[in-house]
């Protein structure tokens, strides 16, 4: 056991001091990114009380314990208020696991390598977008691994999050919509595809798809069930400029054709019974500058499902359920003590009659990943919450391993909670081995472009 060198309150004072300056600076004992560049391990950057839930709670909780209504008050300051309410008042339980200090297991390898390789190359331009020092678009990896400001944190999230940290992803997903008791009312199946046109680190040509440098990515989504949505598909082409909304095209089985559609409905529920809005999908779920008043409003450790949540070992990848009156409302999730994080506040300056007054995003300082987002209504009360559950997946005997995937990889999307505090409705979603129609999961597959990411593709896939 390591000796605690820093007494009670030292870390708290450190974080308060940093917050007072209004800037981020990762690593308490030594600069975090230098350490990651050296051996990929972040342990030396933090005192023991930030690397172990046992040390943090002075032995009252430890890895392997289950957080429940009786003990959640011990870590109330590590949880967002929605997760705290879920555990305290809605019978949710959370399994605690040890903190992962090996950062190579918290991000995809090519992304982390590009981050290290391209350190110091990127700047925020006069137009607010990310450019290399010679004025070219982003060339891959986290452009601001040592982010100092809320703006930098949001920009790196905007570049990376919707292709989920790979050059391309195809995630075959199922989504369960529950009522407040946790009983499922609706189930949807779809494949979500993200394809990067800049910042490419794996797919040729790289770092840019020629003549697509003014674009950031293409996102596509195809529904395969239930029958009324089967064949509905959408294509969003994101501009590199973070002031512009994406262009959107959709194929509907009702009209049997592709139509360009307005993309400014960011705060609507797309499917019946869903508990989330388009804007909720990530910290920068919308173009960054459609929001504003960016601030770092919190700094310190927090609990998040940043690893330990691979569900390939469960039969048919069905994650056990807990909580709610039904006992089946929440995924059973595994959370670790994230040693250092930033809470970024943003306000919807570009959306009239927005139901949100602000959005808070929790960023993991080790990776730049934002596993937790909470949106507040106009009265300042928590409204929506999004939680992402991650893991470094390693093939083991008995697992139903995803077809065509490498034997070990960082899964940028496994499962999610999207919760509506006002209605009590929950959207649970996650990848499954195969969805109706036979679509599978894939990472960095060049064929995803013509298969899903063109107008031609969504017309073909439409039914």
């Amino acid at each position: 056991m390591r000796v605690i060198k820093y007494g009670d309150g030292w870390t708290r004072r450190h974080f308060m001091k940093q917050l007072g300056k209004g800037v981020a600076a990762a690593g308490l004992l030594t600069p975090l990114f230098d350490l990651i560049g050296r051996n990929g391990d972040c342990a030396a950057a933090y005192p023991p009380e930030l690397l172990s839930i046992e040390a943090y709670t002075k032995g009252k909780l430890k890895a392997g314990d289950v957080l429940n209504a009786n003990n959640v008050d011990l870590v109330k300051d590590l949880l967002d208020e929605v997760a705290y309410w879920q555990v305290k008042s809605d019978q949710r339980t959370i399994d605690l696991i040890a903190t992962q200090t090996d950062v190579t297991k918290l991000l995809p390898g090519p992304y982390l390598e590009a981050t290290l390789r391209n350190k110091g190359v990127h700047v925020v331009g006069a137009d607010g977008n990310v450019w290399t020092k010679d004025g070219k678009p982003w060339i891959g990896g986290n452009p601001f691994p040592e982010a100092k400001t809320a703006q930098e944190l949001l920009l790196q999230n905007a570049l990376t999050s919707s292709t989920l940290y790979y050059d391309s992803v195809g995630y075959a997903s199922k989504e369960w919509e529950t009522n407040p008791d946790g009983n499922v009312d609706y189930v949807y199946e779809y494949i979500f595809v993200g394809y990067r046109t800049v910042g490419r680190t794996t797919l040729e040509p790289k770092p840019y798809l020629p003549s697509h440098e003014t674009k950031l990515r293409i996102n596509s989504q195809l529904f395969t069930a239930p029958e009324d949505l089967r064949g509905s598909s959408g294509l969003e082409i994101w501009d590199y400029d973070q002031h512009k909304l994406p262009t959107a095209h959709g194929f509907s089985p009702q009209t049997k054709r592709i139509r360009s559609v307005p993309a400014d409905a960011r705060f609507e529920t797309a499917m019946a019974g869903a508990a989330w809005f388009t804007s909720d999908s990530s910290a920068a779920g919308d173009p960054v500058y459609t929001w504003g008043d960016f601030k770092i409003v919190g700094q310190g450790p927090f609990l998040a499902a940043t690893h330990g949540n691979c569900h390939f070992g469960y039969p048919n990848w069905e994650v056990p359920l807990v909580g709610g009156k039904s006992g089946k409302k929440y995924f059973r999730t595994f959370m670790e003590l994230v040693p250092e994080g930033y809470v970024v506040e943003m306000k919807p300056v570009g959306y009239p009659n927005c139901p949100y007054s602000r959005k808070l995003s929790w960023f993991d300082a080790r990776t730049g990943v934002a596993p937790l987002i909470v949106m507040y209504d106009q009265e300042g009360k928590p409204f929506h919450q999004s939680e992402w559950f991650y893991d470094y997946a390693v093939k083991k005997p008995g697992m139903q391993w995803p077809e065509g995937m490498p034997d070990r990889f960082w899964a940028s999307y496994l499962n999610m909670h999207m919760y509506d505090m006002k209605s009590g409705r929950m959207s649970r979603m996650g990848i499954v081995p195969r969805i109706t129609g036979g679509y599978l999961n894939s990472i960095d597959d060049p064929k995803l472009y013509y298969e899903f990411c063109t107008l031609n593709a969504i017309r073909r896939l439409g039914r």
């Binding site: 609706y186 054709r257 409705r425």
Partner: protein, 551 residues
């Protein structure tokens, strides 16, 4: 007075209770066999339409007062009907997707097949004594070669393969081969660029819930359709999403009409449209076309060309209407059942046998569409994010049923009016968030101008249509979802200016209480005269209750 058939009503009520109370079933929709995935999804639907018109359809009673079916010329009258429709349908979607390895072995990136089977039955004539028991589904629709329609249609039901095709994709090339709808254009509820497929007016397809548009009405034809995605190829020319598509179909199918005696008929009962001759001449004619489309400087554009026999065609008598000044009995046979006194009381009750010609037309068109960028446009709040779209086609040498084409005494009888037609659509759509407490409403405004005819190709420059020379239609649609999108409130209004003007309204409520269930209630309401475009729909005013169960 509503005439409920006790057994059918009871059976349907039991079925509804079972659907509403049924446990949510999460059945697997697909299975994997030898690496290929086979899927099946079904939807069962009831559509009950209760007439609120308060008057019988005058077209079915030949514009005379009918008190009973045995009255001369009233055999197809639908006066005092309570039901317009008591339909039951089942749609089955079958799919097959080869595994990636199997597709690659065949030289493709993906191979998929899809079949949509459809069964439809209307029992309204059997529960409502005011409705004549006509062969609404199969009446005189048969003609040489219509076996390719993959359809069986009888008095009570219709069974067909709505679509059946295979998709082959390799890189940017995609080929679809089989019975398929070919749909281009982005206008809604009207047909400017959406003019490749003919329409089937049966199955309540044009009076249905407005959001379904023409999807159930379009007749899928056996077609080879190829599309090449040139988005990477043409990207250096500042073109995004560039695509080139072309298709050819040897399987022309004409528009299919409802016969007299249907509550939705808009042709007088005495007129009998003989499809056989005209369609036989149109058979073996190819339908082909090409579309080039893309996006340049944020403007979506397309250039369209279609070549097809006319879908409705122009109408003429099946022979010389008059012989020596007297009605030709081969054209105007005596018929006390459904006939009318076309030649005065002394001429007796007669039918008029009509056929149609479907000459080839070439349609040239295109579209421009632009999304107004937020925050840049003056007065941004009003138009921020709005989609503005202009579509247009020109059809030279379109042939219409002219003012004298069906005038037996005219020297121009049985001759069409030939003239070019311009068809333009301008639409604007956007999401409007009225308040922070409710989701955005989808608002749609559309204007359609046609230089010669209305949406049913009725040539307007003649007394029967008020001697108008063009057609102007405005459409407004609003869809307001409520929280969680389980309820939707919908309102659609169409306004047209000819012959004193006419209006059609459809307010609707849609509810999806849980997985697999959907309920719709909507009211079709129209005003206008028989000569206006929407006025005849006033005989079909109705409240429709639809229940859908997906499994």
């Amino acid at each position: 007075m509503i005439h409920f058939h006790p057994f059918l009503t009871r059976a349907t009520a039991v079925l509804m209770v079972l659907l509403i109370t049924a446990a949510v079933a999460f059945a697997e929709d697909s299975i994997t066999i030898l690496g290929a995935t086979i899927g099946m999804q079904n939807v069962a639907e009831t559509d009950w339409a209760i007439s609120t018109a308060g008057k019988g359809n005058s077209f079915n009673s030949n514009f005379q007062k009918c008190t009973r079916h045995s009255q001369r010329g009233c055999g197809l009258a639908t006066n005092d009907n309570s039901w317009n429709l008591m339909a039951y349908r089942l749609d089955t979607l079958l799919s097959l997707k080869l595994s990636n390895a199997q597709a690659n072995a065949l030289g493709f990136d993906s191979v998929e097949a899809f079949v949509h089977g459809r069964f439809w039955s209307d029992l309204a004539p059997y529960v409502d004594g005011a409705l004549p028991a006509i062969n609404a589904e199969g009446f005189r629709q048969r003609y040489a070669g219509n076996g390719w329609a993959a359809q069986v249609a009888e008095h009570e039901y219709e069974l067909d393969a709505a679509e059946a095709y295979i998709d082959l994709q390799r890189g940017p090339l995609w080929i679809r081969l089989g019975k398929q709808q070919i749909v281009y254009g982005e206008e809604l509820g009207i047909q400017t660029l959406d003019q490749v497929d003919s329409l089937d007016f049966r199955r309540h397809s044009l009076s249905n819930y407005s959001a379904l548009e023409f999807s159930d009405a379009r007749i899928a034809e056996w077609t080879l359709h190829a599309t090449y995605d040139a988005s990477n190829l043409l990207a250096p020319l500042y073109q995004d999403n560039a695509q080139f598509s072309t298709w050819i179909s040897p399987d022309f199918q004409p528009d299919i009409f409802l016969p007299g005696g249907s509550p939705y008929s808009t042709s007088p009962a005495y007129s009998i449209i003989e499809n056989q001759n005209g369609i036989s001449r149109a058979r073996h004619k190819l339908v082909y076309g090409a579309v080039l489309e893309g996006t340049m400087f944020d403007v979506d554009w397309s250039m369209n060309f279609y070549s097809t026999p006319e879908h409705i065609g122009w109408f003429k008598y099946v022979g010389q209407p008059l012989i020596g000044g007297a009605p030709n009995p081969a054209v105007f046979p005596l018929d006390n059942f459904r006939g009318a006194q076309l030649f005065g009381p002394a001429g007796g009750y007669r039918d008029a046998l009509i056929t149609r010609e479907m000459p080839r037309i070439n349609i040239y068109g295109g579209m421009l569409s632009y999304t107004i960028e937020p925050y840049k446009f003056p007065g941004a709040e009003i138009l921020d994010g709005a989609q503005v779209r202009a579509s247009g086609t020109y059809t030279p040498d379109m042939q219409f049923t002219g003012p004298n084409t069906l005038n037996p005494a005219s020297p121009n009888v049985n001759r069409p009016t030939t003239v070019g037609e311009l068809n333009l659509a301008l639409d604007l759509e956007r999401d409007v968030r009225w308040t922070e407490h409710a989701p955005s409403a989808y608002v749609f405004l559309e204007y359609n101008y046609r230089s010669r005819s209305d949406l049913f190709d009725d040539y307007l420059a003649q007394p029967a249509y008020g001697n108008h020379h063009d057609f102007n239609l405005a459409v407004i649609g609003i869809t307001q979802p409520l929280a969680s999108n389980r309820w939707q409130l919908v309102w659609v209004q169409e306004v047209e200016g000819n012959a004193g003007g006419s209006v059609f309204e459809q307010p609707a409520v849609v509810y999806k209480p849980r997985l697999g269930q959907e309920y719709r209630v909507f009211w079709n309401f129209a005003t206008g005269t028989n000569h206006s475009f929407l006025g005849p729909s006033r005989y079909m005013d109705e409240i429709v209750f639809a229940a859908l169960y997906r499994f």
